[in-house]
């Protein structure tokens, strides 16, 4: 009888976690088969056209799809066997794995070790009319615009102000759609303020304490009704708004995609902070089923950088378990990865996840949790995240170390960093040729601008993935100031032409003149536009109204 193929390591899912696992395991000599159901590896990375946060090791400042290509090259060069359009149908009797390849062929195989990196799936939100054509998950809209190059609609309501909702709203604007608004049931914006800043500058209103009441239409969405919510999340009668819209994008969070892990027999536990039911893992990323490891959003909804690092950790754990890495070396590598993961989860945005991840490790070891609970309350007190209903006021920005003093502004060109949340990100530090920006000791610390070292050269503007850096040139001329800002919409304005300068909320402030459109190649498609305006607007104007493409 023909013997079934047995691979050393089967990695299921070629997103950042799967690629990370495949790269590290193969680096130490493991023979890896990496499968993915799509026709391109990279998972969510290929849909991400924005620049990523993080550190140098995470290729911060690089656009998502470029990170994907980079990882793919690495995997390729290490001899990882990659099988695309390969769907894992399930684990059957006697640990046999059933695969469907290119919709045409079934294959069966066994694996000594498995890394499950199956990612997350979007949560649904039901409301009357949600089954009308035009209602879709935000991720579906993102696939349509970034992969298929098709607009899902022209007038879009986004439900959810987490990073996914904010980023995809931004990308929908870039694709040429109108986003009529973003509704957020909570009382504050849940995503990063810098992402919210981008869309608000573009004139998209964010309605906190609001939710979608209904989508109406004949054969598809024609109109949406949103309603205000009280403190108990109940609709407030009479406070409604109706918009004409043809699309509703739902972005209310992700669930770990645990189907295969569940079928394979992994033990699950409920962690709402990480997306819901998820498979437990130990500090080697091994699940409760021996030989099956997990990484990425499957082990808890986070983001690409921790997915990549968890994947790498799972990869080296597999290699160590197969005898390719000795225990001392493995211990050191493992410590390094946990260090990186803890840093990524540092800061207020990560603390809930950090606590949940600690609980997962304890659950898998079946240890007492009480000691950790005390630890966690302390952590919570120290890193309280301030809630914002909208973009902070100028006064608030001025209290932070990235904003230059008024006296320095009056001296001439200087950078202005409007980044006031502790998120794990530092490309601006390396970008500055004069070492005028500091983020230390932790990657989540706020950027500190040394206004004496800063020459106002503006190289940092395009490096910031949050598009939160500007250059203010008070002394552009005797009458006018100049403000430089990042701009990623087409068409670009024409030099010498006029435009409408807008403030942080996208409200028109004054007419401005386009002085420069800097499209140099190493800005990687983030144009830096410089406008001239009256000096009194130096602290207000942060962008221009988008130019409608008449073509």
């Amino acid at each position: 009888m023909e013997r079934m193929r047995e691979v050393e390591l089967l990695v299921i899912g070629a997103g950042p976690a799967g690629l990370g696992a495949a790269i590290e395991a193969s680096r130490y000599g493991v023979k890896v088969l990496l499968v993915d159901d799509k026709d391109k590896p990279g998972g969510q990375l290929f849909k991400q056209i924005h620049k990523f946060f993080g550190s140098k090791e995470h290729l911060a400042g690089t656009r998502g799809f470029d990170i994907g290509l980079h990882l793919l090259k690495e995997a390729d060069s290490q001899g990882v066997e990659i099988s695309l359009q390969t769907k894992v149908l399930g684990t059957m009797d006697k640990d046999v794995i059933s695969l469907l390849v290119k919709e045409r062929e079934m294959k069966l195989l066994k694996a000594k070790r498995i890394v499950l990196a199956t990612g997350g799936i979007e949560k649904a939100l039901s409301f009357p009319g949600w089954n009308l054509p035009g209602v879709m998950s935000a991720g579906a809209a993102q696939t349509l615009i970034n992969i298929e190059r098709v607009l899902p609609g022209e007038r879009i309501l986004m439900v959810g102000s987490g990073n996914v909702g904010l980023i995809i709203s931004y990308q929908l604007l870039q694709a040429g759609a109108d986003v009529v608004g973003i509704v957020e049931a909570g009382s504050s914006i849940t995503g990063y303020l810098v992402h919210a800043g981008k869309v608000m500058r573009a004139g998209v209103p964010i309605y906190t304490s609001h939710t979608i009441k209904e989508a109406r239409g004949g054969k598809s969405v024609e109109e949406v009704v949103i309603t205000a919510l009280d403190r108990r999340w109940n609709p407030i009668k009479g406070i409604e708004k109706t918009f004409s819209a043809d699309t509703v994008c739902i972005s209310v969070g992700l669930n770990p995609n645990g189907q295969l892990a569940s079928l394979a027999g992994c033990e699950f536990k409920f962690f709402p902070e990480l997306g819901g039911f998820l498979p437990l893992h130990d500090d080697n990323m091994e699940s409760t089923k021996k030989g099956i490891y997990i990484a990425g959003d499957l082990s808890g909804i986070e983001e690409a950088n921790s997915a990549l690092d968890e994947g790498r950790l799972a990869g080296i754990s597999v290699a160590a378990s197969l005898g390719y890495i000795d225990s001392n070396r493995f211990a050191k590598l493992k410590e390094d990865y946990w260090d990186r993961l803890n840093k990524l989860r540092g800061g207020p945005f990560g603390h809930k996840r950090s606590i949940a991840k600690k609980k997962i490790l304890l659950s898998s070891q079946q240890k007492e949790m009480r000691y950790q609970e005390i630890d966690c309350i302390e952590l919570e007190e120290n890193t309280k995240l301030k809630n914002y209903k909208s973009i902070p006021s100028l006064k608030e920005f001025q209290e932070f170390p990235g904003y230059p003093s008024l006296s320095r502004i009056k001296k001439g060109a200087v950078a202005c960093i409007e980044c006031i949340q502790e998120i794990p990100c530092d490309p601006c530090v390396a970008a500055c040729p004069f070492k005028a920006i500091n983020i230390n000791p932790y990657i989540t610390d706020l950027p500190y601008l040394d206004e004496n070292k800063c020459k106002g050269c503006g190289v940092c503007i395009a490096s910031c993935p949050g598009q939160a850096i500007f250059v203010l040139n008070y002394n552009y001329s005797s009458e006018k100031a100049a403000i430089s800002f990042p701009y990623e919409y087409l068409p670009y304005p024409k030099i010498g032409g006029k435009a409408v300068g807008v403030n942080r909320k996208g409200e028109p402030v004054a007419e401005v003149k386009i002085v420069k459109v800097d499209k140099r190649a190493n800005f990687d498609k983030t144009a830096v536009i410089t406008i001239a305006c009256d000096k009194k607007y130096i602290n207000q104007i942060r962008s221009i109204e988008r130019i409608k493409d008449d073509a």
């Binding site: 399930g90 059957m92 009797d93």
Partner: protein, 393 residues
């Protein structure tokens, strides 16, 4: 302290048998508890195709039960206040070779002997009329029975359970039986995880778990189980009319190594086509799917019904079906404890569940039994084994 609940009858097992028995007893005013370790209809009853079978009932008694049930099935949706989706759309057994023809002709003759005339061997053309999607080139004949059909086994089981509740029965779902309190050869109480319940009579309708359950009262019955696999497609427009059972299943040829494979199919009311079956020996209550089983079923189905090649299969499952050592039903009291009644191993139980429920009611009220089920007593196994063992058991 909370008073222990007390029931005249406690049924263990929430499959179609247990639920039908609960309904028939509760309907007559009996105070009934139904105990099920998982959800109602979560084991074999939820896994089967829903065939109402007449032609291949193994013996004249169950055949008569099934015949009589036809009248009941036609009205059962109304009686249970749930749509059991019963369709008397006919049953077909495609025959592909002489061996099958021989075996099945004998079976048809036996049915005639037992008074069931509405079954016959038909030619491929006639078979094609019953199932237009059947490739008649592939068959030499078929067994056809117009009175057979299909129903929704889940709705049927839930229908019985709901109706039992409406008639005052208490259902303890997600409650495993941990043990029994037995005094003087009588079960006095049943021990569940959260509580104990008092009862006068225990009915075991536990399917594949019968042997394990009966072991708890110190008795071992030769009741085994096999794992039958099936799958379902996404809904399609009506293409399969009735119940189709592969003729190969009546011969040894259906055996491939340790697996029995045949093409059985039916299209549910909601449009999905259920395809089965690959059967293997049951072990450790394993309900995973085998790597090959349903692939072999797929191949066999397509050889008869090439038009189904583009069906999208959306779910595979398996069910653990109990059978006794002599393949005959088990229906009767144990002798120790004296108040335990065992019901299992009927095969194709779905079509005769109501009859089984009614028979239990007859036993309970000491009415004459509608059918001679004396041969089904579980004591036949105990007497046999005590003949082999010296001394007291």
């Amino acid at each position: 302290m909370k008073n222990k609940k007390s029931y005249e009858v406690t049924i263990i097992g929430g499959g179609v048998c247990g639920c039908a028995i609960a309904y028939h007893l509760a309907k007559e005013g009996v105070k009934v508890a139904l105990v099920e370790k998982g959800d109602i209809c979560s084991a074999a009853s939820g896994a089967n195709l829903g065939f109402s079978v007449l032609s291949y009932r193994q013996n004249p008694i169950t055949l008569k039960m099934a015949q009589d049930q036809l009248l009941v099935l036609r009205e059962l949706s109304q009686e249970l206040e749930i749509d059991i989706e019963y369709a008397e759309s006919g049953g077909l057994i495609p025959i592909t070779n002489q061996e099958e023809l021989q075996v099945l002709s004998s079976m048809v003759d036996r049915c005639h002997e037992w008074g069931f005339k509405e079954i016959k061997i038909v030619n491929p053309q006639r078979a094609n009329q019953q199932e237009p999607a059947l490739d008649r080139e592939k068959i030499i004949a078929a067994v056809y029975c117009p009175l057979e059909g299909i129903l929704n086994p889940i709705n049927l089981t839930i229908g019985f359970a709901n109706a039992a509740k409406r008639n005052g029965a208490d259902i303890y779902a997600n409650s495993s039986v941990i043990g029994f309190e037995i005094t003087n050869k009588r079960i006095k109480e049943i021990i569940l995880p959260a509580e104990k319940i008092k009862t006068n009579l225990v009915i075991s309708a536990a399917g594949a778990w019968t042997r394990e359950l009966i072991n708890m009262v110190g008795v071992d019955l030769p009741i085994y189980y096999e794992r039958g696999e099936a799958m379902i497609s996404s809904p399609v427009s009506r293409i399969i009319k009735g119940a189709v059972t592969d003729g190969i299943l009546f011969t040894e040829a259906s055996s491939i190594k340790s697996m029995i494979v045949g093409a059985c199919l039916a299209q549910s009311a909601s449009g999905g086509i259920i395809l089965a079956q690959s059967t293997t020996e049951g072990e450790d209550y394993n309900i995973q799917n085998s790597p090959f089983g349903l692939s072999l079923v797929a191949r066999r189905v397509l050889s008869f019904f090439p038009a189904l090649k583009n069906l999208n299969i959306i779910r595979m499952w398996s069910g653990l079906v109990s059978f006794s050592e002599d393949k005959q039903p088990v229906f009767g009291f144990l002798d120790n404890p004296t108040n335990m009644f065992v019901v299992t191993g009927f095969h194709s139980t779905i079509g005769i569940a109501s009859a089984i429920g009614n028979m239990v009611k007859e036993v309970y009220f000491r009415e004459g039994s509608s059918y001679d089920v004396s041969a089904y007593s579980p004591l036949r196994f105990i007497k046999k084994s005590s003949a082999l063992v010296k001394g007291d058991n």
